[in-house]
């Protein structure tokens, strides 16, 4: 693959700059919180700048090909090399991770959750940033795996240290669960490596030779990857870590978790599992689709049963990632595009929802839906933002959510050749019903929390007045970009589709997609 740009350093810089920031921060006394915050935010901003530069330099006419490719010797013993690149699929997520990190940091300026220690908190976020960005650019399985796991640890500590009452449980569950998944994933990677002649871990190489593996073997390897990625997504039976993790995690954790971490799984499917093992993918697609639609309905039901706002949002993630996986499972570029768009849209919207939930928690010290009411009376702005996000999340056309949801449903009508059409059409209808349920639980949530009069305990003059204030400066700074993005992508989706479409087409060569 020829190098499309001489700026092949940008990715490396963009990925590891945060670590430099971490190094600097290590020398900042713990007491000097403001400074460490400033440094961290500065680093994130610089990283984002590099990201912007990458976007500018990105050659959109060749969005289908790998750009800024850099390759270097790494662990020659196991034939793994430091091989990175960026294409239309990676770009949006790569960039999103940078944006989200920066915004989260800004938000954290005066929202460092107890027990304080901003320095450590920010360091973790920077490390997280490296891991996330790295995962999206890695073109070598070992490298991918390293970054993939690198993400795990900071998140574990974020939940385990800064989380809610039940944090240890949640963090441990999250950690072990994902660990378990990655173990199988690693096995699958190794199997892949040996089955393709133990020559290289480079993804392009594997894509070329992966198809040659015997079908049964492919199915087994795919199974390994499937579990690894599905846990991360999370898909229906593997989702139970998510609500706990989200509920317990600090706001920042939830936002990053929802916005980026969940995408690592789906990204893995799109980038690794499906292109490398087309045969197996064909075999698995109906089952993935099945789990996806189960997830859609099931997540929605879960939401309807919730009494806790944050937990409800967490469950809605399950439903929305269901749409993403449904799109992927069709193995058509139509579906893939939808899925990729859905990933970004879900990142923006659900991230935003978690921000709001965090701010609500901070003001009311509770997320019990039945204790909340009349938010619009006390905090109109926050209330309307919540409404906006709810609308976006239930897939209202003109807002980003719709473009992940509707095309996914659409694509299910006509899956890739070789897949059972009837089955997928059934999926389509079920998914469509899911949209109604989505409207149901979100509006239900909104009606109960935002409308009506404030409940007794929080009504004016019951001692909560000083806590209950409307959106503040830092929140505005952190949220506005997301809100704008939701509208912009909703009104003009082409912005993203034009980047995704070619790349997806390349990814699906094996299916003639």
């Amino acid at each position: 693959m020829e190098v499309l740009s001489d700026h092949n350093w940008v990715l490396t810089v963009g990925t590891f700059l945060p670590l430099v920031g971490v190094l600097i921060m290590l020398f900042i006394p713990k007491a000097d919180e403001a400074l460490s915050k400033a440094v961290a935010i500065g680093t994130a901003a610089a990283t984002l700048a590099v990201g912007v530069f990458t976007m500018v330099q990105f050659n959109y006419d060749k969005a289908g090909e790998m750009q800024f490719v850099a390759q270097a010797e790494w662990i020659s013993v196991i034939k793994s090399s430091y091989f990175i690149g960026l294409d239309g699929i990676s770009l949006p997520l790569y960039f999103l991770s940078m944006v989200i990190t920066l915004l989260v940091m800004i938000y954290s300026w005066n929202h460092v959750p107890s027990p304080g220690n901003a320095k450590a908190f920010y360091i973790l976020m920077l490390v997280l940033q490296t891991g996330m960005a790295g995962t999206f650019i890695a073109r070598d399985l070992v490298l991918f795996f390293v970054f993939f796991e690198l993400v795990l640890l900071p998140m574990y500590f974020m939940i385990g240290v800064w989380g809610g009452e039940n944090r240890q449980y949640a963090s441990l569950k999250f950690f072990l669960y994902t660990m378990f998944g990655s173990a199988l994933m690693l096995v699958a990677f190794l199997a892949l490596f040996f089955k393709t002649g133990a020559e290289s871990f480079a993804i392009p190489f594997l894509i070329e030779n992966g198809g040659a593996i015997a079908k049964n073997t492919q199915i087994w390897i795919f199974a390994g990857m499937f579990v690894g990625f599905a846990v991360k997504v999370p898909m229906f039976p593997f989702h139970t870590w998510l609500p706990d993790a989200h509920t317990q995690a600090p706001t920042q954790g939830s936002v990053i978790l929802a916005a980026i971490l969940l995408k690592l799984g789906t990204y893995g499917f799109v980038r690794i599992a499906i292109p490398i093992l087309p045969e197996a993918a064909k075999e698995w697609a109906p089952w993935i689709g099945l789990l996806a639609v189960i997830g859609i309905i099931y997540g929605a039901l879960g939401c309807l049963a919730q009494t806790d706002m944050k937990r409800l949002i967490a469950f809605s993630s399950v439903a929305h990632m269901g749409y993403v996986m449904l799109g992927i499972s069709t193995l058509t570029s139509f579906g893939m595009n939808a899925a990729m768009f859905g990933m970004v849209a879900h990142g923006l919207i659900t991230g935003m929802l978690f921000f709001v939930a965090g701010s609500v928690k901070e003001r009311y010290h509770t997320l019990e839906i039945k204790r909340l009411s009349g938010m619009l009376v006390q905090m109109p702005k926050l209330g309307w933002i919540l409404g906006f996000c709810a609308m976006a999340s239930l897939g209202l056309p003109g807002l980003a959510g719709f473009w992940g949801e509707f095309p996914a449903i659409l694509s299910a009508y006509q899956p890739a050749p070789g897949l059972n059409v009837t089955v997928f059409r059934v999926y389509m209808v079920v998914a469509a019903i899911g949209t109604v349920l989505a409207a149901g639980y979100l509006l239900w949530l909104y009606q109960r929390t935002a409308f009506g009069e404030p409940t007794e305990e929080f009504a004016a003059g019951h001692g909560h007045d000083e806590d209950i204030h409307d959106v503040n400066k830092f929140e505005w700074i952190a949220w506005t970009p997301l809100l704008i993005a939701i509208v912009v992508f909703g009104v003009y989706p082409q912005l993203m589709f034009q980047v995704l479409d070619p790349a997806v087409g390349v990814t699906l060569k094996a299916f003639g997609g």
């Binding site: 039940n166 944090r167 240890q168 449980y169 949640a170 963090s171 441990l172 569950k173």
Partner: protein
């Protein structure tokens, strides 16, 4: 004399050790099970070393023994500390990481 007989012996010991690690509650016993595992590893190492006629296996077996010694030392020290703090060596009484 087959290579496999040693390897399989190693495997059996290893699994017994694993079983012990999982089943045992008493810290000391868990440490013992770990010793079992380590020894099974050593047997493998030596078997291969004999097979390949190279001394690496010996070397690492030695290292393993050394590490094991260190591990037991620290481990038991921890057990002692734990016992001192809570008059018990039941591992499930260690609930710092409990959620």
């Amino acid at each position: 004399m087959l290579l496999n007989q040693f390897l399989m012996l190693g495997a059996v010991l290893f699994c017994i050790g694993v079983y012990g690690v999982i089943v045992r509650k008493n810290a000391v016993l868990v440490l013992m099970s770990i010793e079992l595992i380590l020894n099974s590893v050593n047997i493998n190492l030596l078997a291969f070393s004999l097979r390949n006629g190279t001394p690496d296996g010996h070397t690492f077996a030695l290292y393993v023994i050394a590490v094991a010694a260190a591990e037991v030392g620290v481990g038991l020290a921890m057990v002692l500390l734990m016992y001192r703090n809570r008059r018990s060596v039941g591992l499930d009484d260690l609930s710092e990481m409990k959620g």
